[in-house]
Symmetry: D2
Subunit: 461 residues, 4 copies
């Protein structure tokens, strides 16, 4: 199939050259108005939609017999723990797949690896064992329930053995205060090498066919002037010259993509959003996605805001208050660490409702809520004849129960992209993220539509 596997008449999404000087993203309005245009020309040597990406030697044919390594950065956190618990419980038939997008039509018609094929490992900086973490979640939140927990306890203990101490460079006081396991004296290049070695040892030890690295670690403070690392060259120079500003998420992403492992950034941290990493991924033909999974208030926003836009209602103010009680909330109490989260949450609205009068998001830490995240949003809008009206909603979700199935979905889907040699960012996975790399479209339906088109396209193969 010429030009990247996309039929000539496909309306969405429109692929663009990711390496153009302006680092153009896929413009939102294209979805709405130019859906009959043919696909822009993509440089076959390095576009992410190209089947024959030069540096990859994976077969294009999917095979479900593979052993998929899932390396979780932040492997003992809530999201990681719930993902492992869920995957193992599903594998043994003890849990259902509710909440997994890949288990529902039309995405389920893709040939995707079963979660039973997942072999977990990871990095963390917290020594508390995975079993203890799961027990705490069971006790505080009731999720997982005792029975499910019992059925996976041995698996958790086994995975815990495969968790290595990670790096916490530039993760902010809120994160590193908790930890004294880290050698802060190492050169950045050495840190990268160690991470790389951890990946490879795991691959070898567990006979992994394909390794996916997933960042589910605590949110880092925002990186100042990320533009200085906008090219692969600038980034690699920085690593080599021991630039102490580079945050951990970038190092994990670099080590993964450089070695050809697909990378998922579930967090708001910089990671693969950096220009230099994106260029590296195109060069290596490695698929990567991110950032900041869309699981609660922002998900609702991305479904509701288009309604106000579509009806030409004038949103005067949209106030969002989030309260949550887990460690993620504690880290986000730190203004530094919260900055990135708040900006990715805020951007969604600005993009869908460019004329919104007032748009504020607050995140507060409320310990008693444990893993429950409650959001109250208040929307003040104006309609016909200047009539002012309001809508408000409250969302009460279990944070990690919303996140975990998406981790599993993303691993399955990035494996699929990897099998088909679709390197670079993955616009069809935009619906999973608050700040989808390379995509300006924040309308959840539009994003989902891209995913369904991807599924339709690949199901015909």
């Amino acid at each position: 199939m010429p030009n990247g596997g996309l039929p000539d008449d496909r309306p969405l999404p429109v692929a663009v050259d990711e390496l153009a000087t302006d680092r153009a993203t896929i413009a939102a309005d294209r979805w709405r108005t130019r859906q009959n245009e043919s696909c822009p020309t993509v440089d076959p040597r390095r576009g992410q939609m190209t089947a024959e990406s030069p540096s990859r030697d994976e077969p294009a044919q999917p095979t479900n017999a593979e052993r998929i390594g899932v390396w979780l950065v932040g492997a003992r956190g809530n999201v990681a723990t719930m993902s492992i618990v869920g995957a193992r419980a599903i594998a043994t038939g003890r849990a259902e797949t509710t909440g997994m997008v890949t288990e529902r039509e039309p995405v389920s018609s893709l040939e995707l690896p079963p979660v039973s094929a997942f072999v977990f490992g990871g990095h963390d900086i917290d020594p508390t064992s995975l079993v203890d973490q799961a027990e705490r979640q069971c006790e505080r939140n009731g999720v997982p329930d005792e029975e499910t927990l019992a059925s996976v306890r041995d698996d958790l203990a086994a995975v815990d053995e495969r968790i290595e101490v990670g790096t916490a460079v530039n993760c902010g006081a809120a994160v590193t205060d908790d930890s004294d396991h880290l050698d802060r004296e190492l050169a950045i290049r050495t840190v990268v090498d160690q991470i790389h070695d951890d990946y490879e040892s795991f691959r070898t030890a567990h006979e992994i066919d394909r390794l996916v690295v997933v960042n589910v670690a605590s949110t880092e403070p925002e990186l100042a002037s990320p533009d200085r690392y906008d090219t692969r060259e600038a980034l690699e120079d920085a690593i080599d010259s021991d630039d102490r500003d580079l945050p951990a998420s970038v190092l994990y992403a670099y080590a993964a993509i450089d070695a050809g492992h697909p990378f998922i950034n579930f967090t708001p941290s910089t990671g693969n959003a950096l220009g230099g990493i994106r260029e590296l991924a195109v060069d290596r033909g490695v698929p990567h996605v991110g950032r900041d999974a869309k699981t609660g208030e922002t998900l609702v926003k991305s479904a509701l805001a288009p309604m106000f836009a579509g009806r030409n209602l004038n949103v005067l103010s949209w106030e969002g208050h989030n309260i949550l009680g887990n460690k993620d909330g504690l880290v986000l109490e730190d203004e530094e660490n919260a900055a990135g989260k708040l900006s990715s949450k805020g951007d969604v609205l600005e993009s869908i409702l460019p004329d919104v009068g007032h748009n504020r998001v607050r995140i507060d830490y409320t310990p008693s809520l444990a893993d429950w995240k409650t959001a109250w949003d208040y929307i003040h809008f104006e309609g016909f004849l200047n009539t002012e009206m309001t809508m408000q909603f409250t969302w009460e979700g279990s944070d990690s129960a919303l996140a975990a199935p998406l981790v599993l979905d993303l691993v399955r889907l990035i494996v699929h992209a990897d099998e088909f040699g679709e390197g670079g960012f993955q616009p069809h996975l935009a619906s999973f993220f608050k700040a989808p790399i390379g995509v300006d479209e924040h309308d959840f339906s539009a994003q989902l539509h891209w995913l369904y088109e991807y599924a339709a396209r690949h199901s015909d193969v």
Copy 2:
């Protein structure tokens, strides 16, 4: 352009033969999974997508110099009054067009008649003057405000002169108890003829180029076994044999479409949803749309429910409670009259979430709210690992301020369809309705997408 102006490669919407025995509607799942299919064959003699519809002699070229007659059935009701107030205030530059879908990209790029070209008239069964109605709304609800009202008072008085007494056959006790202006002794055919004469006198008297009939009258009780009027022949036989079961909305629709006037059914009443009327519209090549405008709780549902579906979350219960204080609310207190409304509200959810465990909608009359409609929805859903979560929202909208701009939009858009000879039901207008005739898709984004495609297609012309 062959087969109805639709390019072969258009993914959505998929046109079907409206007259197939099962009165097939456009299947929702098509949008999601078969978007690359080519358009099904439409019988060129009578399909609604055909340019050369035999019975129409309108020019295909749009012209904005026309005088558009807008005949409102229920012309002194809240929705009608607010529509007239708004149209006149916009025409004189005193009001903005917030809330009008046709005033926003991409629909605004269509060549549509300006609202200043609208000449209003109508039927009602309540003698209270339009000026009094508007003053009451101003006083009770603050909409319109005093200044706007003052600027259109003369226009309202002029329109009021053009309101004729309508028929209230089978409108239910809740409606007809209010009225003794109706001759219940007339034969049904005579009633139809009188309605027809009222349309034509208005056309002549006001030099109307194109007349659109809009049903904004009170909700009628549901018609029992509508299937008996499933063909044009059966319907016309019933009229001729003085079948006293036919409700007013069907008579208004019949008289309009039979005379070639586009018909909009803003209400849940039967009207043009009847098989016989739909066949007549195809025969006559007249565009018609309906039913039950989607302005509040159901609108939100149609934007939110796809989010739960898209994330494979399992909705256990969706409870919707509506309280409203206007005359519409009073009529809906009557269980008979409410039945249709409740079913069109409920269907939206069943369609988007076929596995929803429990789905109830309540409408209650709360006089102090006047024109304000408040809805509380409580959504109990289950995610990963059987985790139960909840979302709730409250919507507080001014009923007629939400409805009126859509009336103006629909008139403009049906005029456009009429100019282009696009007879029959109008799938691209599905986003305006709770129970869109001929369409099974209830996802607001998908429906809107069809409208945008229509706009894109016609903007290229």
Copy 3:
């Protein structure tokens, strides 16, 4: 202390002669304005405030060494089950007393029997064992948790042995459809005698010192014209002449009070609210309370409505929607059975806000909620310069977890009243009920104040 142990200068509550022709209740406004009045004269022979009630031979001195029999009518229902689970878990130190009013100052300063002294038994018409019921609650609602349940499983099994088949006379189809264990052929007097025998056998078998009967059975349909049983004589005549209109709750109450056992009516059923039963209780000097425990939405109302009243805000509409998923909800789906509940819920508001414009309460059955009761209340009110404002709240409570501690409180407090020979209705316990027998005051603070005064008065003893 003369006239019933009440100091002359006590401002609240004002006792009245319960047997006056109009069955006067304690007027609400007294609390607010006449609190310095001295206590009205009470007929010493039969007033409920009298220490020397003729028919009682209990010692006035409280003693905690007693074994308290708690006979639950509806012993296998949710409330009963949670009460037994809680009492046993508290007795063994495995649960805390959160939610028990008697465990907090100033009520905790009274000398009350410990819950460890409670010996449970009861009537039911459903054969499902108490252990099964508790397991179902644990599984569906997470309350009690598995650990607590395990610790009381043996106790539950033991209590289950002491549950007799009760009568379901006039309990409505919603209740009796579930049951075929009842002999409908027995004469009413025989039924009363059997109930009486069940009480006495239990007393003897378990060496009970003091027996309290608690009605926690399903809500019955409202009794038509209860006035016909307004005297003890009329009631006893009806029993003897086999009047088939008498509902089960009256029979349980009659058998209890006639035999000198304090009676608690936790439900909206008629029971001890009947004039004839009230007269019997005065004659026998037996304390009794009811009806319809105030645990959720109505509790909030009784705390909030006085705020609107106190600030002279004009409540235009108060809408209350309750959704619940347990068997109580299922029974209340039946309009007949719901009538009493709705009226006791509605009265609270009418009493506190006599000028409320519109006051509606809805109860709907939403199975997925299991034992969770969610209420949404919408309050539309008017303030200064006709400014319209709104307040809304959502309450999400576990029905039986809110009810059970009050069952334990009430048993402890009625035992106290019984020890002090305080027969008749118990105005100081009004705060526990939606429709407190003999009391018109619905302001929760005022009701609570009476309880605190009672505690202060008796702590001085």
Copy 4:
């Protein structure tokens, strides 16, 4: 009647010596448990309950023929404007008294001056005229409506003539940035003298019989270490030694009370809460009240929190989010100015629920809301058997429409206290304030009960 008109047996409130070393407040728990105690002895020479306060020469007999001067500090603000509009509209029979506590039983049975007797004047630092302010409120908020506004426009213009430029010493940048009308070079004593002169000129010019000063100016930043002004002597020394730390509210209060004028502090600013001012008020026998009127979220809290306490429910977290759009909100955006407000709002909860796990109040500025204040409160609580439950509420009120009637109430009530020679703080007016001076009781019902007792006591006179 000896000792201040309080009957010996009055249960509440319990008066204490305001000048005791610890500046003891009226303990909350007294209300609940010691309500039968007799009133503590009050030093007749200086207690605030004393009839024969030495420095006052007002007649003890109330007379309604008086002209009451109402001097508003912040006379052009929202609250002031709405108070004047309302008072004048009531005086001319154009507005009702909804929202006024003094117009409802039992308080209405007191002999209070009619609002028609009020003559308004005041200080402000903003030159925008009262008419302009009222027009802006009408336009932005719809309150007052156009008709009411028209009827009082001349009165507003007349009052505007009587508004003098005030002082803004230490009001914070958020306030003074708006103003350059202030001579910052004057000595503090000179400022006090000028304020005093403004009061006296107004009195003379308008033949005022009794002058009440009301602080409705913008919230000042919190005063650091207020203890240094804990005695009258320390305060007067500070004034004389030109202490530049003293904030404007203290100077306004000092000038008023020193000259014998009752003082109402409607704001969270220091004012009469200062020890030195309180001592001065006792010495002069002048009644004063404050601070921070309780009109919205905190009012609801003070009605609801006692319900959780009374039922022994364990509040784990109480989150309160306020959004408001008026100038008060803008000033409170400034963290300095917000501090006092947040602390008085927070204290209410700590006092009623001493064991509350987590208690946060946020105030955010949301311009589109204009005068509307919306609060969302989320209450996470634990009941029996550790069952976690939640309650949430949303309050949507018009800020100044809630405040204005209370300004009028307080003027009427403080005039009454003044007529009866009841100097010092006024515990019976605690229900009006978030941080009632001299009172620890925050339960709204208990506070209201004191007011009703006061009314009952004085109605008997």
